[in-house]
Symmetry: C2
Subunit: 197 residues, 2 copies
DNA sequence: TTGTCTTCCTAGGGCCCCTAGGCTAAAACT
DNA sequence: AGTTTTAGCCTAGGGGCCCTAGGAAGACAA
């Protein structure tokens, strides 16, 4: 019987493609096997189980997303960098919805596998680097990074969930949100404990 | 055979409890039936199928969350209202993680059922009402609402996914994010088309 | 009491996850 | 080249889940 030339990576890619087409929660071992022209039991030589496959898809996606963001922000600074970063993030989520949702699953990944994936670490560096120009210092820097990531992720998640009505295009709201975040980063409010207005 | 007194609502509640305990994606008809001391086939007299059950959980959660936010923001204005709104949102997500994720699924709900659920409509009204004090006008108002919802949702989603390291408590970042958003709403940048810095 | 409605049951088909064990193509060694 | 070892893919099968079909037995009304 001719061999199919399976490998953990090919299985992961097939799973990622399937995730983008039908949604991450519809990625099953059987479907991935069918797409590869193979019986489902054959996959278990390359991938531990479904959860492992999901983790691999998540790592793949994190790496891809990080690379795109790195390319988009290379050589840019200030608002240019912010917009490039955010647009690359959002575009990845649009282009690869299944992969993107995989990046947001509580990480339950084989540690040894995760160790050789440069994605997450690099993503953190990129975000901090992008903010360097705004002159923030810790702990404001960390807070700003978290705010940006929250907003980017929240926006594309709501967009994907159909959370925005049709009265105004998401693109316009997105552009304005980036304007607003840029303004906010330039005038980051000083830390005051008990002030309320 | 003694009757269990099932009803669509009781089934939904059991599903919601299960979702909070083990995660929404682990809510199965069989598990819900087991929890109710009933065979799984019995549920289909009250709920059309698993997708329908998920939709009902989503509506239940949306209503609960809206009520909590309404109570929290009642009689408040300005930053007080913003913080109360955001804290109620985040607390609901923490207390009911499964229900909360249900609210974020692309809505695939029986329209007739959705029509009698006041949650979504009321939630929109609440958000716009909270922002009234900042004096924004359309379309800035819509953009601001979307930015806030994105940030709130993104923050709790990243928090739930373990997306924040341990170097700084999420609570502190959350407080600072609300400070920042409040400042942003008070000085919402004017709409300028081609300006870049 | 009798009839009707509803609730819950058992039976069963189909898909999915995963393990165990076998066969054979491909690679490694002599 | 011939032989041994490795590894890829297979079939068989158990268990769980979703859902439908049809039956039995409470609850309720006449």
């Amino acid at each position: 019987m001719a061999r199919a030339g399976l490998t953990a990576e090919r299985v992961t890619i097939a799973g990622a493609e399937l995730a983008d087409e039908v949604g991450l929660d519809r990625v099953t071992m059987s479907q991935v096997a069918r797409r590869l022209g193979v019986k489902d039991a054959s996959l278990y030589s390359h991938v531990r189980n479904l959860e492992d496959l999901r983790g691999r898809i998540a790592l793949l996606a994190a790496d891809e997303k990080t690379v795109l963001i790195a390319e988009a922000t290379a050589g840019r600074a200030g608002k240019d960098a912010l917009v490039a970063f955010a647009d690359a993030w959002r575009e990845y989520a649009h282009r690869h919805p299944g992969r993107y949702t995989a990046t947001q699953t509580p990480i339950q990944i084989d540690p040894e596998l995760a160790a050789k994936a440069p994605g997450p670490r690099r993503a953190v560096e990129l975000t901090y680097g992008m903010l360097r120009g705004y002159g923030l210092t810790e702990p404001d820097l960390t807070d700003a990074v978290r705010l940006l990531r929250s907003t980017f992720h929240g926006f594309v998640a709501l967009e994907a969930a159909g959370g925005f009505g049709h009265e105004r295009s998401p693109q316009q709201s997105w552009t304005r949100a980036l304007d607003a975040l840029h303004a906010l980063l330039e005038h980051w409010p000083p830390s005051r404990e008990g002030a309320s207005s």
